[in-house]
């Protein structure tokens, strides 16, 4: 991805030498650059083959600075992963909050998620598929990331007529269905076409709360 390498030069960096910037500002910008670089490099190379040297080179920081910020590659990757998930959740949240009715909120949130993932296919695959290859801690972070969708889904219980009587793990499972369907597309190499998956993931989100007929009606209405 040559374009990524070029873009790097445009990113803001504190001027070299004596610039009088407070050290914590310099550190924060170094950390942000490193986290961004980590998601890029690991998405390109895979977690296993990525070295700390790859990360410092892409981020334009020294090895010493790296080890001031993180203990090792894994700690850095986990922080980068959490940061990427935070960004996705913020995008989902602001789209979701802009709507009123729960099914509309769900549709808006899912559309935002699909668009964000389609815009960065390699990082999407890392976030939802290849992350599991980065070891047990990363696997737990991935599951925790899926769990961050459940508060949006729990509102379905209030919206659905019989919402209170649904099984305990309904929101956890609905989130898993969305992520599973998206992961299938990513594995098949269809990241760019993810926005076209909206009807499928919306149905998977609504069906445990509303039942198949009402969920299908909501999906049909959205498509009109």
């Amino acid at each position: 991805m040559a374009a990524r390498g070029e873009k790097q030069g445009e990113r803001w960096r504190p001027p070299r030498g004596r610039h009088g910037l407070p050290p914590e500002i310099v550190a924060r910008s170094q950390r942000e650059r490193l986290l961004e670089a980590t998601m890029e490099v690991v998405a390109e190379k895979g977690y296993g083959p990525t070295t700390v040297a790859d990360l410092t080179k892409r981020a334009g920081i020294s090895r010493t600075t790296f080890y001031e910020l993180f203990e090792d590659k894994e700690a850095c990757f986990l922080a980068a992963y959490d940061d990427a998930v935070d960004t996705l959740v913020r995008l989902i949240s602001s789209a979701y909050e802009a709507e009123e009715r729960w099914p509309d909120r769900a549709r808006a949130g899912l559309a935002a998620l699909l668009e964000a993932l389609a815009a960065q296919p390699e990082q999407a695959r890392l976030a939802l598929v290849d992350v599991s290859a980065a070891g047990p801690a990363a696997q737990r972070r991935y599951r925790a990331a899926i769990g961050r969708l459940t508060p949006f889904l729990d509102e379905g219980r209030d919206f659905a007529p019989g919402g209170r009587t649904l099984p305990a793990n309904v929101s956890r499972m609905a989130a898993g269905a969305v992520v599973g369907l998206v992961a299938d597309e990513l594995i098949a190499g269809r990241a760019e076409e993810l926005p076209g998956l909206l009807s499928d993931v919306l149905f998977a989100t609504l069906v445990p709360y509303l039942g198949p007929d009402a969920a299908a009606r909501e999906v049909a209405e959205e498509n009109r």
Partner: protein, 248 residues
């Protein structure tokens, strides 16, 4: 079937006794110490199984990526040379372990599957069988549902093909194609992904032994696209009853 009895081993470091327990039926003790009169293939067979068990246990404890051949040989009580006689490399060993687990799980599910049973009963029985199997073999559960798909390559392919078989079993005998009711054709796949996600998160949280308790949730999510909400809730309550009568 796994050639091994259920083990009570948990994730994490294994004591010597637990390691031996993993070997189950094919523990070292079960082979006479003078092996000269045992036919070659029999020894190799039990060595192979000890290695597969050790592979599952080590993956469960530290993840497939961090697992080394030495980690596997030590608890299996085999030499490096023996390992390489039986397996090409670490990945080959993982695939063999995955193959065994998959064949076992599918065999058990097909056993409870019958076209004569009502579809919902078949789903419930198959799900209960699967959850019980995972709970009785926490190391293999983790290897098959977490490490093998994460390793990519042929292990991931085997995992994906296992899911397709389950999907085909679900699709069979459910009546009219759901697409005709305006329901997306991905609904069944989504339901299975929902169940899978819940199961995997419980495994990663160290709750593998308690997986059977998820039966009512899993019956609900798998049946709802096909049967509607009222019937799915009824089936879920049935599953809860089965669970309570089974436990008590």
């Amino acid at each position: 079937m796994f050639p091994l009895p259920p083990t009570a081993s948990h994730n994490g470091a294994k004591s010597k006794a637990q390691q031996d327990d993993l070997g189950g039926l094919i523990e070292r003790e079960h082979l006479p110490s003078g092996r000269a009169d045992l036919p070659e293939p029999l020894i190799a067979h039990s060595q192979r199984e000890r290695i597969l068990n050790a592979m599952a246990a080590t993956c469960a404890a530290k993840g497939y990526g961090a697992t080394t051949i030495a980690d596997v040989c030590e608890p299996a009580g085999v030499s490096r040379a023996t390992f390489y006689e039986l397996f090409k490399d670490k990945e080959d060993c993982l695939q063999a372990s995955m193959e065994l687990s998959l064949a076992d799980a599918m065999g058990r599910i097909v056993e409870v599957y019958s076209p004569d049973k009502p579809w919902a009963t078949m789903v419930r029985d198959a799900a209960a069988t699967f959850l019980d199997l995972l709970a009785s073999r926490p190391d293999f559960a983790r290897m098959a549902l977490v490490e093998a798909p994460a390793a990519g390559g042929r292990s991931l392919e085997m995992y994906a093909s296992g899911k397709r078989v389950l999907q085909a079993l679900l699709d069979r005998g459910r009546g009219d194609p759901i697409e005709e009711q305006g329901i997306p054709s991905s609904a069944g796949r989504g339901a299975l992904a929902a169940a899978e996600s819940l199961i995997v998160s419980q495994i990663l949280a160290g709750n593998t032994e308690r997986l059977p308790e998820l039966l009512p949730d899993i019956v609900y999510i798998i049946t709802i696209p096909y049967l509607g909400q009222d019937e799915a809730l009824r089936q879920s309550r049935e599953a809860e009853k089965t669970l309570r009568s089974g436990a008590g």
